[in-house]
Subunit: 363 residues, 2 copies
Amino acid sequence: MLRFEIEKTEGQSRLGKLYTAHGEIETPAFMPVGTAATVKAMLPDSVAQTGAQILLGNTYHLMLRPGADRIQRLGGLHKFMNWDKPILTDSGGFQVMSLSKLRTITEEGVSFRSHIDGSLWHLSAETSIGIQHKLDSNITMCFDECPPYPSDKRYVANSTRRSMRWAKRSKEAFIDRPGYGIFGIVQGGVHPDLREESCRSLTEIGFDGYALGGLAVGEGQDLMFKTIGVTTPHLPADKPRYLMGVGRPSDIVGAVLRGVDMFDCVMPTRSGRTAQAFTRHGVMNLRNACYKDDPTPLDDQCHCPACLHYSRAYLHHLVRTKEILGVMLLTWHNLTYYQDLMKGIRQALREGRFTEFAQGVFS
Amino acid sequence: MLRFEIEKTEGQSRLGKLYTAHGEIETPAFMPVGTAATVKAMLPDSVAQTGAQILLGNTYHLMLRPGADRIQRLGGLHKFMNWDKPILTDSGGFQVMSLSKLRTITEEGVSFRSHIDGSLWHLSAETSIGIQHKLDSNITMCFDECPPYPSDKRYVANSTRRSMRWAKRSKEAFIDRPGYGIFGIVQGGVHPDLREESCRSLTEIGFDGYALGGLAVGEGQDLMFKTIGVTTPHLPADKPRYLMGVGRPSDIVGAVLRGVDMFDCVMPTRSGRTAQAFTRHGVMNLRNACYKDDPTPLDDQCHCPACLHYSRAYLHHLVRTKEILGVMLLTWHNLTYYQDLMKGIRQALREGRFTEFAQGVFS
């Protein structure tokens, strides 16, 4: 059971708060990805300093290494990784499809081989929820299949209906307790009728929140926005909505415009490892030789250590010499940029000027 | 000109303070290595938190990337890398010998090809000192040759005498100013007569401090200690002594026993990148499967973040999954261990029980 309060709305956009056993989350919220029990190249204190109030962990990665039973014995994921704020875990369904090999999908669940050592594993609604319990995840995600894009409509329909049956089994396997909850995942590809059907199925089961899955898989921003737009009206107004694996800053703003409350994406962290920086001057590639003598900070409106203490020339030097500190500083900066974006969105909602704020992003 | 005060002695060991334009250094001191204008995988604030009061920078690496003129234009090495405490730079002589290709040594200096792109470079006493000025190094090192070990005595003698002529040229090229100084480097291999001759040559020139070069190059701890023991008595008692590139904790304690005041070594940082941890329980390899379920901290007497907030099981997991955070935490821990060792040495000297302290290390 998770309490969610909507403080204010503007059009379809919502300013809210989600309460968990490990603290509250102001929404719209962006969740940094901590795949293998670490946000890559960041200490948890530093992640918190960026403004992040919740992290995402990956069931698929953690079940393989170090193993869910081991994390449970060591006191749960919060203690294991020294993060005492809320954690959401995905169900493993998406990674099984995108990372593992030799998958077999049946009504019961999925058999697959580990991408690390080829060992054979099995995941089902029941085992996925069980693992997420062992991790002590505050927000458990239903086990689902994310069909590849594009897929023919018949495949998407069958897959979506099976995911809805898995959603029911996930909910039944979930052990409810105060400050913990389970989210359903809407599938249906880019088909409005299947999305609506999926929303109806999940709403009948009843969840603490509703995620939009199967998007940002290659369909493009226009079709993604369109699909979000035909989905959120069919979801309960009083529950949080989470767009999985999204995205670029403009994706986030466009989704908030369409009633989404939560996001996660590897983009800020992965970009930090490939010399890309999100700034108020646009996306910059620090490998670029134009920065080698640039004494100015990356983003003069940013308060992260990379911007407060270093020049673009120094960051360029770190990138060129493949120094770990370059990855550390750019990751820190990008996560700060994303959290500042979310603060800006929330502030605009609070002040009733989010529509105007969003126009600034898309103009 | 650098002021050095010896507060207390015990046998040949000395407790002292070295004053620079960027702050003071308590000796015996260990200098973390910041090769390419970064202590690998550490923010400067974190390096300072370990207790480090001075860093070492590498002339060879910095002249190649990003270039000494560029660092000068950007305000010097302290500003470039956001480290406002003292910096010592080596002269490049050692790295030219160990890293570069196609070296030609003449009386004038050394021509070599960069290990990065094969480009042709030249270093001499005058250019090395000039680069160190551009970096704004607090402690400039003389340009010298570090002969390979073993070398025949005739080669070592000729090389040492040339290094002494380079030392004279280095001193002449050095622009003296308050809070900045230049150290001579004693060479002479493992030959007591050559070491004595080298000490005499350098003392005649007159330096702010004296380094012992050409050690820890494969001669073993016994012969290294023996060579230190026949060298330090020939150095001025009132100037700091610096053993270059050393070493393991027992090397440091043994050298302090023989009158050495300063050290640098890549060991704590490099070990942090290869899963080795220095602890009060000995050296541990965190890759080892014996740690995979170990809920205890790395070193329960250590106050670094790795020991305060994480289990050995978590560190093992980070190492196995090749997570950058593993490198960050183990580097931080190892640097903390080394600085705690130096604090322990200084405390023992202050309390007149260093001989006893050293016996604990060698028993």
